[in-house]
Symmetry: C2
Subunit: 245 residues, 2 copies
């Protein structure tokens, strides 16, 4: 359950010094950008493209599971995205529409996803006050390209590549704290997904929920956290205000 | 042997897309800043402080060797620096001068080292054209603080924390390429030390030598590379010019 805003205000004195961010869904609207790219690449109607974007994303968790379980050596998300595209195209019998090279190019759409409208301004506002880093399952190359695309200034990139495992494995959150020389209590995990925040809290990090109610389409996202969190905000600018900056 | 400038110019067409940098000695003048901090903390004359800075730095390679050999689990450089300070103070019988807390604070001097005068301007000039990252044995916290101190904008921080091992182990250079999704030939290692460049070249990276002839005191640094390199420059601005930017 999300805690009331007044508690957020009471926490300002003990503010964390490092903010780490989930990216897909929390900072960027992956669904719209990916659907647009699929529509163009496959020459399909917009609603078909959206369902293909959902299908591509639906392969995301299962593809990481082999790595989390240890069945497969650590493999960067760019590679999984490319493999998952093959799966989707085969499932819907559109394989003939795209050459391998076109599939490589299409996979790069994940490096230039649109951001939610509050993000770029909020990150600039937070930066003078906190160390900032993405803590995503996306690899460094993907995160660095996204940052260039939007003009974000990260202090470092932590997450999957740093831990060579995928969230919500505890090592990903723990390693993020370690490399910043921070205790878990000094680190705030910011995400639009209750599962991500629950896993971070289990390691001792503090947590901030950001509502992205339209992540998976209109009304199809988390509007409120389903787990206890330290802060709960309507967007990143709201979180910045609650953190007193 | 350093190659002539004309070869540097001929290589522009095949310029790498990621530049990774050694930091201690190459970007920052560790000796002067550390000596100043020691002078102040221990109340010793300037020349004594310089020799203590050299003694502290002399513990650097041996302390990493236990980790490279596998005898000790990966331990961040901040921890090694703190341990090495104890060694130095014991060796010179100045242990009584600093409390444990004062030693902790003194160790943080490595997070605010002065940069060589060409560095900040050159990094800003290189950034529109290349992905930029430090590839240092310093940990993420140290690198992030140095970047804040000088206003450097890295795309990511690679190096020891990313590989959980220390240069010149091949995994450090290889991991730096991997996380950027780059082949070794697309990555240029920039350093003021021939040993670092030789190790990078052995993994297939391209190499640029930067002359820092005063790193260890006046005239006590590498004025020219002792190994073959792809570029050789007097400073980072000279390298930027040779890279055509």
């Amino acid at each position: 359950m999300a805690e009331p805003a007044s508690l957020g205000a009471a926490r300002v004195d003990a503010a964390p010094r490092v903010l780490i961010f989930d990216v897909f869904g929390t900072l960027v609207d992956w669904r719209r950008t990916v659907a647009q790219a699929l529509q163009q690449a496959l020459d399909v109607p917009p609603m078909r493209a959206e369902s293909l974007a959902d299908a591509w994303r639906a392969q995301y968790q299962p593809s990481m599971q082999a790595i989390r379980s240890g069945a497969r050596a650590y493999t960067a998300l760019d590679v999984l995205h490319r493999e998952n595209l093959d799966v989707v195209l085969r499932d819907v019998q559109l394989e003939s529409r795209l050459t391998p090279q076109a599939r490589d190019e299409l996979t790069m759409v994940w490096h230039r996803l649109d951001a939610w409208p509050d993000v770029t301004r909020a990150l600039a506002r937070l930066r003078p006050h906190f160390m900032l880093a993405p803590c995503s399952n996306g690899n460094v190359a993907l995160m660095a390209d996204l940052a260039r695309h939007h003009g974000w200034h990260w202090d470092a990139i932590v997450g999957a590549d740093m831990a060579r495992d995928y969230k919500p494995q505890p090592i990903v959150y723990r390693r993020a704290c370690e490399v910043f020389g921070a205790t878990p209590a000094q680190v705030l995990m910011v995400a639009a997904h209750s599962s991500d925040l629950a896993a971070a809290a289990a390691v001792g990090l503090r947590t901030a929920f950001i509502a992205r109610p339209d992540e998976h389409g209109p009304g199809l996202g988390e509007a409120a956290s389903t787990v206890p969190v330290d802060w709960s905000a309507n967007n990143l600018l709201d979180l910045a205000a609650q953190l007193g900056v």
